[in-house]
């Protein structure tokens, strides 16, 4: 499986948020995207995941163009995103948040609710098992039955990751998973991501925090002003004078 982004452009009025962005991320990769604020990282995610229409360019998943699909259809195709600012279902508990994310539930149809209660109960039990595993895996056991709105910022990031996992994706797009998270939890989240990647789930990670990202990903791209200005191994990329200028404001 690969995700291919071909010449994506997106303008807001006269401002070019994305300008001919090209990227290819291979199956099961752990790929990073860095760049200063306003470089277009989140916009790129929104375009890839179908929340914002692109002005031009194509998005290819496994050889099939997906740019005509709605956001939910793209998620069902196996590519699930998270959000920079966590979007937990705040009045639902952590457990309910995760339950809600499981795909293709008979009980999500009103006819199923009233006419196939047996099947709904069976599915609920199976989903509950997966949720328990996910809660344990993400070490959210202590807060499992609390309304998710009361979680700390870091716990919400973990919950978002957990919800994405429950959707059974092949690839997860993580938008700043470490932003506003305390250092201990950052290590925790990084370990979880690496472990999941080991199980074959691909990740594209946007991050503002250079240090964290370079420790996590073997390969990354650098964005600046809507363009990808470099791509490769973290060390090589960060030594690129163009990148140093964009990222460090020309200080060398």
């Amino acid at each position: 499986m690969s995700l291919e982004v071909r010449d994506i452009g997106k303008s807001y009025g006269g401002f070019k948020a994305l300008d001919g962005v090209r990227l290819t991320v291979e199956t099961g990769a752990l790929f990073g995207i860095i760049g200063p604020n306003g470089a277009g990282k989140s916009t790129l995610f929104s375009v890839i995941s179908g929340f914002v229409p692109a002005d031009e360019g194509r998005i290819i998943l496994d050889g099939k163009a997906i740019d005509g699909l709605s956001a939910p259809a793209r998620a069902r195709a196996g590519m699930v995103r998270t959000f920079q600012v966590p979007r937990e279902f705040r009045h639902l508990t952590v457990r309910e948040n995760l339950m809600a994310a499981a795909p293709q539930q008979t009980g999500e149809n009103l006819l199923g609710v009233f006419f196939r209660p047996g099947r709904v109960n069976e599915e609920e039990a199976a989903i509950a098992d997966r949720v328990d595993q996910t809660i344990t895996f993400l070490k959210l056991t202590r807060v499992a039955d609390q309304p998710s709105g009361m979680l700390s910022g870091g716990q919400k990031k973990l919950l978002e990751l957990g919800r994405a996992l429950m959707a059974k994706p092949r690839m997860i797009l993580l938008d700043e998973p470490f932003a506003g998270v305390n250092p201990v939890l950052i290590d925790e989240i990084m370990e979880r991501i690496a472990e999941l990647n080991g199980r074959g789930i691909g990740f594209v990670v946007i991050e503002h925090d250079l240090q964290a990202l370079t420790r996590l990903v073997p390969r990354l791209a650098v964005m600046d002003r809507g363009r990808i200005i470099a791509e490769g191994e973290p060390r090589a990329v960060l030594d690129d004078p163009l990148v140093r200028e964009a990222y460090l404001g020309g200080v060398s």
């Binding site: 069902r76 009045h91 639902l92 809600a100 999500e108």
Partner: protein, 294 residues
């Protein structure tokens, strides 16, 4: 006196059924439906007109629910892509369109003159017995409605519509299409309003377009806000408070000197508004507590 109490009980239960529909739509899903009365009107006129054709009342009621539900479907398709506030305006506009159509299509609805002599339920029982039978029937339907909404709320469907209420984009990101859920919610909620409308028509026996003004929608909103948004018990308790106040304020005239019969209608609406303000100030989560306090 008994007859008066039963009469109030019947009207209160009609409001409970309306509130249950809105609880599903707004309380659980977060859909701001300001046009509930439109579906109530469709139910009332559908059932009344069919009854005049000699259709058995059971079928009239079923048709009221089905037609109100069907009416909600295109509204959903057209407007669910709109932002919350625009959706609210579209639904408010829809209910006014319904009222104006009823007013203008005289060949069908007799326009402003309305439809007198809508057949009563249990006419053959006569008098107070018939009224009690109506009360028992609407109570049974209300209980069935309560069971349905609770069943929905406790199901995976209920979990997902609450997720939509909390964050629609996150639901999309998980591969689920909120529109599919919202349309189902709109249709079911409208069917509740349709049933309530049928009961209303056959109980009041005389329907005119002026009974279906947006004020009715907002009475239902007041009921669920005072009772507790997103809770079935809130819909029931809120409707009870509303009815107590609407009826209780009739007696205000005994203590307010110099208020004419005509003024009284305005005074009552003012009184209900005042009650709502008190709730918002001192008990915003409603009497039973809303969905934010579980």
């Amino acid at each position: 006196m008994e007859a008066y109490l039963v009469a109030i009980g019947i009207i209160a239960l009609i409001y409970v059924i309306l509130s249950l529909g809105l609880t599903l739509q707004y309380g659980l899903t977060g859909l701001i439906n300001f046009g509930h009365v439109g579906f109530f009107a469709i139910g009332a006129y559908t059932s009344a007109l069919l009854a005049f054709q000699g259709v058995p009342l059971v079928l009239c009621f079923a048709a009221a629910a089905v037609l109100a539900g069907i009416a909600a479907w295109p509204i959903g398709l057209v407007s669910l892509r709109l932002r919350d506030d625009y959706f609210a305006i579209v639904t408010l506009g829809f209910s006014e369109v319904v009222r104006i159509v009823i007013t203008s299509e005289k060949w069908l609805t007799s326009g402003v003159q309305g439809l007198p002599g809508v057949p009563r339920l249990y006419e053959e029982l006569g008098g107070f017995t018939a009224q009690l039978a109506v009360f028992a029937t609407i109570l049974a339907v209300t209980l069935l409605g309560i069971w349905m909404i609770r069943r929905i709320a406790g199901s995976p469907f209920g979990r997902l519509i609450e997720a939509i209420r909390d964050n629609e984009e996150a639901v999309q990101a998980l591969g689920k299409d909120p529109a599919r859920f919202k349309i189902q919610v709109l249709v079911v909620g409208a069917a509740f309003a349709g049933i309530a409308g049928a009961f209303y028509a056959h109980y009041i026996t005389y329907i005119v377009p002026d009974q279906f003004i947006p004020l009715v929608t907002f009475y239902v909103w007041m009921a669920i806000i005072m009772g507790g948004v997103g809770r079935v018990s809130g819909a029931v308790v809120g409707s009870a408070i509303l009815m107590l106040f609407l009826e209780g304020s009739r007696f205000l005239r005994d203590v307010l000197p110099g208020v004419s019969e005509v003024d009284m209608a305005s005074v009552r609406i003012g009184a209900v508004g005042f009650l709502l303000i008190l709730f918002i100030m001192y008990r915003p989560q409603g009497l039973m507590g809303d969905y934010t306090k579980r």
